[in-house]
């Protein structure tokens, strides 16, 4: 039996290696994407365009505007007297947010001791809106403090005795707020996902389409041996791709996993087991390569959008989070981020490892049952 498996493996590897364009697609295209795409996935928001409606034209309003533009987060793209003109800039995508300083802002601030500033944010891009609002808010708070100190030192007002509570914040695991640390592991997982499940599906369906699977079916080769023979090459390719990906992360982005490689690779094998099972399952349901492609595209696309690689699982409603739990990639992405960034060990990721193993058993079991029926 081991001998049969050995011969099957030899055949599979030769078939894969012989096709140069496939090898190129399998290994080189993902590596290039991993080098380039994290640069595109940069969400450290720093160029928020702001339009200011200044109805006050006072020293205070000028000072606030200077403070905003010198913060480094904002770019002043409009300075108008009317709110509607500023709104027009938002419609033309020339401004992300509008700050309106009401008339007599400075005068009334002193007279009435309290004034409002109006901020309107284009919320179509939610993250940008969130961050833009957050930055502007903290700048205004700083500005408020400065003004108070000024008035206080010029002696116009008496200092208040109200107690002040301040917040000292620190950022662990990624103190420089480097977005690459967050996104590179996720992109690597997406690439491994696409390769593993799709290729297994294609490969088996190809044998179906060309009719060679019939020949294998009439030989005494056991079905699980045949399936194992189909899966091992892609397991190996997956591990190679993953290793190349880690190298790219290290060379181009300086990312060295904090946790142990042993944990990473053990999780990878667990993950690939599940994803190859999915590929196998899709293959049993398709007759032509076109169908295999359609089905795997369906799943990969949904995995990419919902597994937390680019979108936050935390802000999804409970039912959606429950669905996401059944996606193997979401577990592996979580593991990758925990091990690479925080150095989590086996004990910390037991839940995700277990979930992937269960999903793997279900997918593979289902595939084998279904394969027996149709072949």
């Amino acid at each position: 039996m081991i001998k049969t498996l050995y011969f099957l493996l030899e055949k599979e590897f030769r078939q894969i290696m012989r096709n140069k364009s496939i090898v190129r697609m399998l290994l080189i295209a993902p590596v290039i994407q991993l080098i380039l795409l994290p640069l595109a996935a940069d969400y450290s928001v720093k160029n928020i365009s702001i339009a200011v409606v200044d109805n006050d034209h006072s020293t205070a309003s000028q000072r606030l505007i200077n403070k905003i533009t010198s913060s480094g987060y904002f770019r002043l793209t409009g300075y108008t007297g009317s709110y509607n003109a500023a709104l027009g800039l938002v419609e033309q995508e020339k401004a992300d947010l509008v700050l309106q300083i009401p008339a007599h802002f400075e005068r009334d601030l002193v007279r009435e001791n309290s004034q409002k500033l109006y901020i309107a944010i284009n919320a179509i891009e939610g993250t940008k809106a969130n961050l833009g609002g957050a930055y502007l808010n903290s700048i205004i708070t700083d500005f408020n403090d400065e003004i108070r100190v000024d008035w206080h030192t010029t002696g116009t007002l008496t200092a208040s005795e109200a107690p002040q509570i301040s917040v000292a914040s620190s950022n662990w695991y990624n103190p420089y707020m480097n977005f690459h640390l967050y996104i590179v592991p996720a992109i690597l997982v997406t690439l491994v996902t696409a390769m593993a499940s799709m290729q297994t599906a294609f490969n088996i369906v190809q044998e179906k389409e060309s009719g060679t699977i019939e020949q294998i079916n009439v030989t005494p080769i056991k079905k699980y041996v045949f399936i194992t023979g189909k899966m091992i090459p892609f397991l190996v390719l997956g591990i190679i791709l993953f290793t190349l990906g880690l190298l790219v992360g290290w060379i181009f982005y300086g990312i060295v996993p904090v946790g142990s490689f042993w944990v990473l690779y053990a999780s990878l094998v667990d993950y690939l087991f599940a994803m190859l099972g999915l590929g196998l399952l899709l293959a049993t349901y398709s007759v032509t390569q076109m169908q295999a492609m359609s089905l795997s595209f369906f799943f990969i696309n949904i995995f990419n959008m919902m597994s937390g690689a680019f979108t936050a699982v935390d802000s999804m409603p409970a039912w959606a989070q429950a669905i996401v739990e059944t996606f193997p990639p979401s577990h592996f992405i979580r593991i990758m981020r925990m091990v690479v960034l925080k150095g989590s060990g086996f004990g910390d990721i037991l839940y995700d490892l277990g979930a992937m193993a269960i999903l793997g058993v279900i997918l593979n079991g289902w595939a084998i049952v279904n394969y027996k029926k149709t072949a």
Partner: protein
């Protein structure tokens, strides 16, 4: 002409007969719009945090209540030691820890100043920034409340308003994005297989020796995909109007016209891939592995393009879905007219013509 119609009919039958592919073609857009429309959101809420209160006095209790009362935070646990903090972060249970030092109330009453320590898990830097800001806002509000009773002078109160999408739903951004992504990938994929399949099966030879013009072969291959994609477009528009409350604010005619332009561009890309590929597998790999992630990231609906390095910004100009995404946002969400999107429309038209011309030139009428 009669010939052409017969061929288009034949290609149609090919597509319609394959139920599984058809299911994907129509099922994918529906599933994505419904799933993404309801599930994806940018609003950060119910973040799991841990609280360590070493002071345990009325003020800290009051602040903790303030934090717990909104729907921003979900206090998962209270910590007793620094070791617990570390392990909670490593397990990924909490996103942030709020720590009140032991001398908190002492400091506050005696010096009038006290500090709360906030530690965020910055593996996701944006989430960390957002929730740190939430906490700061809550504490500032708390300060303001106590200040108002004590008469703090010169209060500037920022009033924030979210335009177009007040609830920070994901749908207004993701629906145009998913439209661009799905239409482009489905069109490219379906077309990329079309011609190479005939080559692989050997039927291309028969087509080429027949008196049927090569341009007709191409047209009859594209026609079914074009029609399917337009049907898809309307399914997406109807679904988002019904379920996601996203009606087309601008002219439907303009949107349809631009969508057809975009679909034709994607079909031409598929055609080009198909003409260059030797096997179906190579064509599929190129359209899936090669195009999926770049399209996803360079369209601009996940990550803002103006943040990217200049080289990638230039590269993103070559991605048709980038322009289509802008058109859909302007016409569908903001209700703007042709005066606002003529530039993008022209760019798509140019891309479409160029790609189609190249594929026509490269389409070989000889085998080898």
């Amino acid at each position: 002409m009669q010939q052409l119609l017969t061929f288009i009919r034949k290609e149609f039958l090919h597509v319609i007969r394959d139920r599984k592919t058809l299911l994907m073609l129509f099922g994918l857009p529906i599933a994505q719009i419904v799933l993404f429309g309801f599930a994806l959101s940018n609003e950060v809420k119910n973040s799991r945090i841990a609280v360590a209160d070493y002071s345990k006095d009325p003020v800290t209790t009051q602040i903790i209540n303030e934090i717990a009362s909104g729907n921003y935070f979900d206090i998962q646990r209270t910590l007793q030691s620094a070791a617990q903090l570390e392990s909670a972060f490593k397990k990924g249970n909490i996103r942030m820890a709020v720590i009140f030092p032991a001398n908190f109330s002492n400091d506050l009453t005696h010096t009038g100043k006290a500090t709360i320590q906030v530690i965020a898990d910055a593996s996701d830097p944006n989430l960390a920034t957002t929730i740190t800001n939430y906490i700061t806002r809550i504490i500032n509000n708390f300060n303001t409340q106590t200040a108002l009773t004590a008469g703090q002078p010169l209060q500037i109160i920022p009033e924030m308003q979210f335009l177009y999408n007040p609830e920070l739903k994901g749908a207004p951004n993701f629906v145009p994005g998913v439209m661009a992504l799905v239409l482009m990938l489905v069109c490219t994929m379906m077309t990329s297989v079309a011609i190479v399949k005939e080559k692989e099966l050997g039927t291309m030879e028969i087509l080429l020796v027949s008196p049927f013009k090569p341009i007709y072969i191409i047209i009859s291959k594209l026609a079914p995909n074009l029609i399917i994609s337009i049907v898809n477009l309307f399914i997406i528009l109807i679904l988002s109007a019904l379920f996601l409350d996203l009606q087309v604010k601008g002219s439907i005619l303009l949107l349809t016209f631009d969508s057809m332009l975009f679909i034709l561009t994607s079909l031409s890309i598929g055609l080009l891939l198909s003409i260059n590929a030797k096997t179906q597998q190579a064509a599929m790999m190129a359209s899936l592995m090669g195009m999926m992630l770049p399209t996803m990231l360079l369209t601009g609906f996940l990550f803002p393009i103006e943040n990217m390095p200049v080289a990638l910004q230039v590269l993103s100009n070559l991605v048709p879905s980038r322009w289509y995404f802008i058109i859909v946002k302007k016409v569908m969400l903001k209700g703007l007219g042709i005066t606002a999107v003529w530039k993008e429309t022209l760019i798509l038209a140019g891309m479409c013509l160029l790609l189609f011309a190249i594929s026509l030139r490269r389409f070989k009428i000889r085998l080898q």
